[in-house]
């Protein structure tokens, strides 16, 4: 599945969330990650993020798509990153 994770986390904890997500997903822009995941990896991410954030103050949203074929991205302004596997 293809997921997009956006988060609004207090500055005290934000780096922990970012570094954790970086191990599984591609950084797209500030507070946004996306990438292909398996079911198990999604569970790992759910659990990992839950442990890092403060349930009262922080918010993390995960958008799950069956496949990136269903994703159409419109970019305005400058793209921060190229996601190609060929670097």
């Amino acid at each position: 599945m293809y997921v997009i994770v956006v988060y609004d986390v207090n500055v005290e904890r934000i780096d922990k969330v970012r570094i954790f997500l970086k191990q599984y997903l591609n950084w797209v822009q500030n507070s946004v990650f996306e990438g292909e995941l398996t079911k198990v990896e999604l569970k790992i991410i759910e659990k990992g993020v839950k442990d890092l954030i403060d349930q009262e103050q922080d918010s993390v949203r995960v958008y799950v798509l069956r496949n990136d074929k269903y994703l159409k991205t419109i970019e305005l302004g400058t793209s921060k990153v190229k996601l190609s596997e060929i670097i």
Partner: protein
């Protein structure tokens, strides 16, 4: 699913924030550590020792290619899937002459049948291919008649010669090969084939790492020192399916232009832009899926390589006789 990364640019690979960063003067790019399957390094890469041990610990091999695009070596992580009985049985199949020949013949047979599939695809639009196809078909029954490795190798070489001659009938003039020349390739077709074959070898090696097989014990090719020759054996089957089809697409759809090659006739290589195009097509093909007949589900081309290796494990352990993959679609 983990994915392959191909690094063409020059730069530094380092561990930072528990993941892998590729950094050069144009900027930096983070590669999610848990999503890397293997790294193919074409550029001048510098490593920190941190990243090397981190990649190794995560079971990620790095394959190095020199400026010609030839395979140089791999940073092959410590084997985690070890099984003494498989290694012993694998060696047994090597030292027993008839058992070794059986496997060597199957590799040649698999490669040949896949070559025929490629040619048959084009034979309806190009009638001149017919005589090449008949030629190759007449070689197949001869494979089983031989019982020494050099003889089997020579049939294989002969079939490949016919095949490459046949390709010259399909390819537009600027991509004709003449004879197969390596190190360095002398024209565009040879440059494409050399580049692709090196890549295929490394891809098969990544898959072997994920099985219990020992990559140094091979059957068709001699197990030389310092070489993972089992990868050469298995790559034979997949070259026509993966590499050659990538080349057909690039050539027949006229996706390559003069800027994609460097050098002159007699010493021709792919340029950075050419490599980029090739790697993109190669990557797409490895990730493309087909419905597997006996598994009944979608599998990627890359997975097919792994399945082939599992068949080999079953064969050496004596549970199921090995029959090479011949594409059915």
């Amino acid at each position: 699913m983990r994915t392959n990364y191909y690094i063409i640019k020059d730069g530094i690979l380092r561990r930072k924030e528990n993941t892998v960063y590729f950094i050069n003067k144009e900027g930096k790019r983070a590669l999610p550590i848990n999503k890397i399957y293997a790294i193919y390094a074409y550029g001048n890469l510098s490593f920190t020792s941190g990243v090397v041990s981190y990649l190794a610990r995560n079971g990620i091999p790095i394959h190095f290619f020199n400026s010609y695009g030839f395979y140089e070596g791999s940073l092959y992580p410590r084997e985690t899937l070890v099984a003494g009985d498989v290694t012993i049985k694998q060696a047994e199949h090597y030292s027993n002459k008839s058992k070794r020949c059986y496997l060597a013949k199957r590799f040649v047979e698999g490669a040949t049948r896949n070559i025929l599939r490629n040619l048959n695809y084009y034979s309806s639009s190009n009638l001149s291919l017919k005589k090449y196809i008949e030629n190759i078909e007449s070689e197949i029954p001869r494979i089983d008649g031989y019982d020494t490795i050099p003889q089997i190798m020579s049939v294989e070489g002969h079939i490949r010669d016919i095949y490459y001659n046949a390709l010259d009938e399909i390819f537009p003039e600027e991509f004709r090969m003449g004879t197969r020349v390596k190190r360095p390739p002398n024209n565009k077709a040879n440059a494409l084939i050399s580049f692709g074959n090196s890549l295929m070898y490394a891809t098969v090696l990544s898959e072997i790492y994920n099985t219990q097989l020992n990559p140094t014990i091979s059957y068709l090719h001699e197990p030389f020192e310092r070489r993972f020759s089992l990868s050469l054996d298995v790559a034979e089957i997949f070259k026509p399916i993966i590499v050659d089809r990538v080349i057909f697409k690039l050539v027949n759809k006229r996706m390559l232009n003069d800027g994609d090659f460097v050098g002159e006739l007699g010493d021709m290589l792919l340029s950075d832009s050419g490599r980029r195009k090739f790697l993109q097509e190669y990557h797409d093909r490895l990730s493309r899926t087909i419905k597997h007949k006996s598994l009944g589900r979608e599998v990627s081309y890359q997975r097919l390589i792994r399945l082939e290796l599992y068949k080999l494990v079953k064969h050496v352990l004596g549970t199921q006789e090995y029959k090479p993959l011949v594409i059915w679609w």
